[in-house]
């Protein structure tokens, strides 16, 4: 016995809902996309054994002790410096000496926050000048 086909179904994919589907997917990606970028203070570390000899007059030693106090090490003695005056002091010194390197030496007991605050101030002091930022992070033991 033979079956007779009734009506012919046209082999067509319905495309009317295509846009709806695509918009639904767009909504999903819009919601799940995170555009927030990582931000922070960038630093390029020196490679191992890349120590450079620098003349002592071209270096400004900043010292952060375990109590989070900031001082400038100069003429073999520590001169305490209020944090609020740090930026202006560094700016003044940078203006005086073209090739000044600022070395930040932090004791092991200091908090990370103080280190970041000081690093930020140093970077800000350099920001007005048209020369590369020269910062050295001294080893606490060294």
């Amino acid at each position: 016995m033979k079956w007779v086909r009734g009506a012919r179904v046209l082999p067509e994919i319905p495309t009317a809902s295509m846009a709806d589907i695509a918009f639904l997917l767009i909504c999903f990606f819009l919601v799940s996309t995170t555009m927030n970028q990582d931000k922070g203070l960038s630093l390029h570390l020196p490679a191992m054994g890349e120590g450079k000899e620098v003349q002592s007059r071209n270096i400004c030693n900043l010292w952060i002790n375990a109590q989070d106090d900031v001082a400038i090490f100069e003429d073999d003695q520590l001169k305490p410096l209020p944090f609020s005056g740090l930026r202006d002091e560094l700016r003044r010194r940078l203006a005086e000496n073209e090739s000044l390197i600022i070395s930040v030496k932090t004791e092991r007991g200091a908090t990370y926050r103080t280190f970041i605050d000081v690093l930020d101030e140093v970077k800000l002091a350099f920001s007005d000048l048209a020369r590369p930022t020269k910062i050295s992070i001294a080893n606490p033991e060294g």
Binding site: A22, I26, Q37, S42, L45, Y112, I116
Partner: protein
């Protein structure tokens, strides 16, 4: 004198290209999406003013340090001595890797300093200290 209208312009917005446009947008979002894979550990990041944006998340390896001195990379606690090995593996897979240090503001600098030394040993020299933007006074 009156002008007779010649023909009526049908006021229909063409929707034929709607799907094309939406797929184009879809492709854009698919390409630009980076899913947050690692949540890290809860840390209170310090604030800073002179902030720089990192170019792309694809090249960033985050190292979390909490206030108790635990180091966490990709949701795994890593002892300090192992950090070099882990970062070295990431650096070999992607030489453009930037290490983002997400330290808690109360963490001790001693640990951060040791971490920097470990990074220097494996030539991971591009470092970013992750911070929040300081609220403008």
């Amino acid at each position: 004198m009156r002008f007779a209208r010649k023909s009526k312009v049908a006021s229909v917005i063409p929707t034929a290209s709607m799907a094309d446009i939406s797929f184009l947008l879809l492709v854009f979002f698919m390409v630009s999406t980076v899913f947050v894979r690692y949540r890290g550990i809860p840390v209170q990041l310090p604030e800073a003013e002179k902030i720089e944006m990192l170019e792309s998340r694809r090249h960033v390896t985050a190292i979390w340090i909490d206030r108790d001195g635990r180091i966490n990379i990709d949701d795994q606690t890593v002892p300090l001595q192992q950090v070099g090995r882990v970062v070295h593996a990431k650096l070999s897979a992607n030489p453009r890797t930037v290490v983002s240090i997400r330290g808690d503001e109360q963490a001790s600098f001693g640990l951060v300093s040791d971490l920097l030394e470990e990074l220097r040993k494996v030539e991971a020299l591009r470092v970013n200290f992750s911070t929040r933007r300081e609220a403008q006074p």
